[in-house]
Amino acid sequence: MIGQAFQQLKEAGVLGINNRNAEYIMRYNPRSLYPLVDNKVLTKRLAKQYGIPTPVLFHVIENYGSMKNLKTMLEDIKEFVVKPASGSGGSGIILIAERTRNVFLTQSKKVVTLEYLSYHISDILSGIFSLQGHEDHAIIESLIHPDQVFSAVTYQGVPDVRIIVYRGVPVMAMVRLPTKDSDGKANLHRGAIGAGIELGTGQTITAVHKSKIVTHHPDTGNPVSGLQVPHWDTMLSIATLATDMTGLGYIGVDIVIDRDRGPVLLELNARPGLAIQMANKSGLLKRLEDVDAAPDGIFTTPEKRIAWAKENL
């Protein structure tokens, strides 16, 4: 019985977590390269060298001492985001959308004071939000204004596009749409919707919400499939470059679309989750194996890799 069930998953080409860890992450992502993606400051620096846009970095706060100047640092920034350099899962991020001189208003309309912000930053520095509880740095960067395309299927927050890139070839993509449940955050386990994207066209196909297939957004009631993701080709090239940039062979690239700047690289992930398979209703393993089976010399340039992926996946 169980053996049969395993067989079904295998036939569907589903990638399991053990397989992902042992055969892809451990093999293609050397530990020494992790800091490049786990530390968002380093990621930003790298992206800059490769001409990939990221949210504008205003300040990096590295120690408690420099927090004294917080007030002057924030003096002439109207909207900004405070986040831990090595955070994950969306924790420790505060989005400031409006402010007066000393009072700030978050995107979800909560009032916070400068004092609160400096408390929050010292939390970040102490490592509360960092992956291993190590001391961390705090980032102050520009606020992204989401493009209107997804506004009909987004409840607050910023939707983001996740593209899995294997050996420089984009293999699977989805767009994550915040819902009321997810509290405006784009994390699937918090209740955001994940809509699979067809690589060739950039159109959304199916979608999952809390591990069930859905066709409409639960809050706005608008259909979530058949939407065209704008700047699709640009996104694919940003994603593809991420491999050249970091040297990681199996990577999740998170891109948001800014109203003014277009696609912006938000973060990279060395251990991207597997839920993307549900959003696409398609197995990753099959695609990874397709990439491995492709003839030699076909993946020499990013353009060729994208073209191949559009054609074959």
Binding site: I2, A5, F6, Q8, L9, K10, A12, V14, G16, I17, N18, N19, A22, E23, R27, G89, S91, Y119, S122, D123, S126, G127, I128, G133, H189, R190, S211, I213, Q277, M278, K281, G283
Partner: protein, 505 residues
């Protein structure tokens, strides 16, 4: 990619098997170390009275041989002096002195532990002289009938001779041997003469039967060498002894078991009692005497005060293996990787019920405190330290109250891994925040379950003993861990997670 790991695991498994086989076959270890071994309490008592002068009493005592161990010996000698002599043929206790008018009771006690002798073989005996006969013709007659037998292998030679002894009808009438001998010599002398003539080493053995009971006289039987071992025969040569394993030889050279000079002995009795000895003792007695390499490197050679620790320690990897299975094959999360194993270890101090309650209590109190601390906005490390202090304060109070109300068990917290508990509180809090209370409770239940099972494992006397005697089993535990480490198949939980992919639709 998979090959080296699998080969390594296979190698470890084979190594385990080889070591196990060597210990069981070569060293005669018990296959199931926990199966009850044979142990007997051996008692000899006699009442001795001097004729007037010095009396010498010599009593044959059991001796050690492969598969048989003697311990806890005790001699009672009254006013006599006692000496122990070791001869080629066995051990003798010798009491010397003058008894009072009413005589003296002499006694000997010992514990006899038995088990399979392993591959150790008794050494080949040399051929003894003929038993005393009155004239040469008898010997010649014996040689005549056994003439043809000398070509047969030893076991068959024995068999043929026994047949001759048993069945007078089948003897060729021209054989004069039996005519000469029968009636004039004892059956055992007949038998020994024939064995000697056929060049079969044989001997008269005196001893006792190792079964519950009291005997006043030792038993006599005959043993013939069949090339491999001594084969036991009844004294008249009419039957072979099938239960030879239960016979304990005391003398093997025909000398009497009890011999007195200058006095009299009465009321001799051998009292055999079956004993239940602790498995640990049983194995300890065997292994700590052996000079075989693996025995010299056995954990039983550690000072006893450290053995206790290793009994438990050797089982901890099983707990870890369990966690590997739970996480990587089933896909069930636990708090912290080895937290449940540490919990299980601490249950040894607290007991299971109280241990589990502590676990539940600490998480509950800790969670409430953590919620409150969240408002104070303390930094990570100080915040954890505050939690730790709080938890320890709670336990101290509990112990004080327990003392007041006579609840001993609440004081027995031992060195519970408090620090680990505090980290669990933190993890619990984060899981509640990020994944909801349901997942958090599930994870707690999972952790408690693993702690529970691990506790059962490390408390199992049978497993402790098995691993202590066969520490190489750890290699195979390691092998299994390696194999799980290379298990890249789906987790059971993924069958549910990816169930969408399993429908044909």
């Amino acid at each position: 990619m998979k090959r080296p790991a699998v080969l390594l695991a296979l190698g470890l498994l084979i190594l385990t098997a080889v070591l196990l086989l060597y210990r069981i076959i070569g060293l005669g270890y018990p296959v199931l170390p926990a199966s009850t071994g044979q142990a007997f309490h051996f008692k000899f008592d006699g009442h001795i009275k001097s004729d007037g002068g010095d009396t010498t009493l010599s009593v044959a005592l059991p001796s050690e041989r492969p598969g048989l161990i003697i311990s806890e010996e005790y001699f009672g000698s009254g006013s006599l002096s006692f000496n122990l002599f070791r001869k080629e043929s066995g051990r003798y206790g010798v009491w010397i002195g003058q008894t009072g008018r009413d005589g003296e009771i002499v006694s000997y006690r010992a514990m006899i532990l038995m088990r399979s002798p392993g591959t150790a073989k008794p050494k080949s005996p040399v051929l003894e002289k003929y038993p005393p006969l009155t004239n040469k013709d008898e010997q010649t007659a014996a040689e005549k009938i056994t003439e043809r037998l000398k070509l047969l292998p030893l076991p068959e030679r024995i068999e043929t001779i026994l047949k001759l002894m048993e069945d007078s009808g089948s003897r060729p009438p021209e054989l004069t041997f039996f005519k000469f001998m029968e009636g004039r010599y004892s059956q055992s002398t007949l038998l020994l003469t024939l064995f000697r003539a056929a060049l079969i080493p044989a001997r008269v053995v005196d001893g006792v039967r190792l079964t519950e009971g009291i005997v006043t006289k030792p038993l006599t039987w005959i043993e013939a060498w069949n090339g491999q071992t001594w084969e036991g025969l009844s004294i008249d040569g009419k039957e072979t002894l099938k239960d030879q394993a239960t016979l304990l030889a005391l003398t093997v050279d025909g000398t009497p078991v009890v011999h007195v000079a200058g006095g009299k002995i009465n009321d001799t009795r051998w009292d055999i009692n079956r004993q239940i000895v602790g498995q640990w003792r049983h194995n300890y007695e065997h292994i700590s005497r052996s000079e075989r390499f693996l025995d010299r490197w056995s954990l039983f050679r550690l000072p006893t005060e450290f053995q206790q620790t290793f009994r438990i320690l050797l089982l901890v990897p099983i707990g870890a293996l369990l966690i590997c299975i739970l996480r990587n094959i089933i896909g069930f999360p636990t708090f912290g990787i080895f937290m449940p194993v540490l919990m299980a270890l601490s249950f040894r101090n607290t007991g299971l019920i109280y241990g589990l309650s502590i676990f539940a209590g600490v998480i509950l109190v800790g969670y409430a405190a953590r919620r409150f601390l969240d408002r104070l906005r303390l930094l990570l490390v100080p915040r954890m330290s505050v939690l730790l202090t709080l938890v320890i304060v709670c336990f101290t109070l509990l112990a004080l109250f327990g003392n007041k109300f006579g609840l001993r068990q609440v004081m027995a917290v031992g060195l519970l891994p408090f620090v680990i508990l505090v980290m669990t509180i933190e993890r619990f809090f984060v899981v509640v925040e990020e994944h909801g209370i349901r997942t958090a409770l599930q994870t707690s239940a999972g952790s408690a379950a693993v702690a529970f099972i691990t506790y059962l494992i490390i408390s199992s006397e049978t497993l402790q003993l098995t691993f202590f005697i066969y520490p190489e089993l750890l290699l195979s535990i390691g092998a299994l861990q390696i194999l799980i480490g290379r298990y890249t198949g789906y987790r059971l939980s993924e069958l549910f997670r990816f169930r969408e992919f399993r429908d044909p639709s």
